[in-house]
C-alpha cells in the first residue's frame, strides 16, 4: 500500500481549513462603513475633535466608523478617532506624535444640501447641537464635510474635507 505523503496531507488540510473558514466569514452588518481622510482644522470641526479654537492645528486625521442597526440598517452611533497635528518650525513637518482624541455620538440621515434638495446628508450629533456636523454623501464610498450654511467645506492645496471609505 502506497503511503500518502505527509506534505500533501498537510496541504489538503490547510486548503480545507481555509475554505471552511471563508464560508463562515461574514461582513459585520452593524457597521455601515469606516471612512478616513486628512482634513484642515476648520473652525466648525474643531469642537467635534475636542480641539480648541485657539490651538495650533494644521491637519486632522479622521477615522470615522458609522454604525447601523443590523436589521433595519438605520443609523445608530458613530465613533470618531482623530489625530491633530500642527506644522513645526523650522522643519515645516507635521508634529509627531500628534494629539489623539476619541469621540462618540449618534448620527442621523437628513436630506438636502445647498445645491441639491435630494442630497443625502449624514449628521453627526455628539450630544451638543452647536457642535454637530454634517457630511454630504457623494457616493457609497465618499463623504464631504458641509459648512454651517450647507456649502461644501473648502480645503487647500494641502488637504481637503473629503473622507473616503477604507473599510466596510
Amino acid at each position: 500500500m502506497k503511503l500518502i505523503q505527509p506534505n500533501r496531507t498537510i496541504m489538503a488540510l490547510a486548503v480545507w481549513l481555509t475554505l471552511a473558514n471563508s464560508s463562515t466569514i461574514t461582513r459585520d452588518s452593524s457597521v455601515l462603513g469606516i471612512f478616513a481622510g486628512n482634513t484642515l482644522c476648520g473652525d466648525i470641526i474643531r469642537p467635534l475633535h475636542k480641539i480648541s479654537q485657539q490651538a495650533d492645528c494644521d491637519l486632522v486625521e479622521w477615522k470615522l466608523t458609522l454604525y447601523q442597526d443590523p436589521l433595519t440598517h438605520k443609523p445608530t452611533t458613530y465613533k470618531l478617532t482623530s489625530v491633530s497635528r500642527f506644522i513645526e518650525k523650522p522643519s515645516n513637518m507635521y508634529s509627531q506624535p500628534g494629539i489623539k482624541t476619541e469621540t462618540e455620538g449618534k448620527w442621523t440621515i437628513v436630506r438636502g444640501s445647498n445645491s441639491n434638495p435630494r442630497a443625502i446628508v449624514y449628521q453627526l450629533d455628539p450630544g451638543k447641537p452647536q457642535i454637530s456636523i454634517r457630511l454630504l454623501k457623494l457616493g457609497a464610498n465618499l463623504l464631504h464635510l458641509l459648512y454651517r450654511d450647507g456649502a461644501l467645506m473648502i480645503g487647500s492645496s494641502q488637504a481637503s474635507y473629503t473622507l473616503s471609505r477604507i473599510s466596510n
Binding site: 481622510g37 441639491n116 473648502i154 473629503t162
Partner: protein, 168 residues
C-alpha cells in the same frame, strides 16, 4: 450735549452690529495658495484649483507610468473662460505629472453622470496618450476628479481626489 450722546449711542450700536457681523461671517473661504508665483486672476479666469491626491489610480487612468513609490500627486489647475460669455476656453494644468511644463488645452462643460443626470462635469482635453480628465463640479469652490466613466475616484486615508479653489 444730548445730540453728542445720541450720536455716540448710535455709533456704538453700529459698531456692535458690525462686530457681530464679522464674527458670523463664514470663514469657509478659499485658502491662500502656497504657489511661489501669483495665481492667474482677472475676468478671463474661471478659477484656480489645487489639491493633493493619491497617485496610482489616476496615473493608470492617464496612461502615465509611475513607480510604486508614487504615493501622492500635487495638482494646480487654472481654468479660463470667455470674459463676456463665460464659456470655457482653455486650461493650464500644473503639478507632479507636469513638472517640466504645464499641460495646456481646451476644456468643456458636460452635463450628467451615470448616477446624477444634473451633474456638471468639466472635461479637460489632455491629448494623447493621456485622454480626458473629468472633474465634477461640487460647487463653485470644490471639484472632484472622476474616472474615465465619470464615476467618483475614492481616495485613501491620507488623500482624496478633491481640488479646492485657491486665491492669492
Amino acid at each position: 450735549m444730548k445730540h453728542i450722546i445720541s450720536s455716540f449711542i448710535i455709533s456704538f450700536c453700529f459698531f456692535l452690529t458690525e462686530a457681530y457681523a464679522q464674527r458670523t461671517v463664514s470663514p469657509n473661504l478659499p485658502s491662500r495658495s502656497f504657489s511661489t508665483t501669483p495665481l492667474a486672476s482677472g475676468p478671463s479666469v474661471y478659477g484656480v484649483f489645487e489639491g493633493k491626491s493619491p497617485c496610482q489610480s489616476i496615473a493608470r487612468q492617464m496612461n502615465i507610468e509611475v513607480g510604486p513609490e508614487c504615493i501622492k500627486l500635487k495638482w494646480g489647475l487654472t481654468l479660463y473662460h470667455d470674459s463676456i460669455t463665460h464659456k470655457p476656453t482653455h486650461y493650464k494644468l500644473a503639478g507632479t505629472f507636469f513638472r517640466k511644463q504645464d499641460r495646456e488645452g481646451k476644456w468643456h462643460i458636460l452635463y450628467g453622470t451615470r448616477t446624477d443626470p444634473e451633474a456638471i462635469v468639466f472635461q479637460l482635453d489632455l491629448g494623447e496618450p493621456n485622454g480626458f480628465l473629468f472633474l465634477l463640479k461640487g460647487d463653485d469652490n470644490v471639484l472632484f476628479i472622476l474616472d474615465k466613466n465619470k464615476d467618483f475616484l475614492v481616495g485613501d486615508a491620507q488623500f482624496s481626489y478633491t481640488l479646492n479653489r485657491a486665491r492669492n
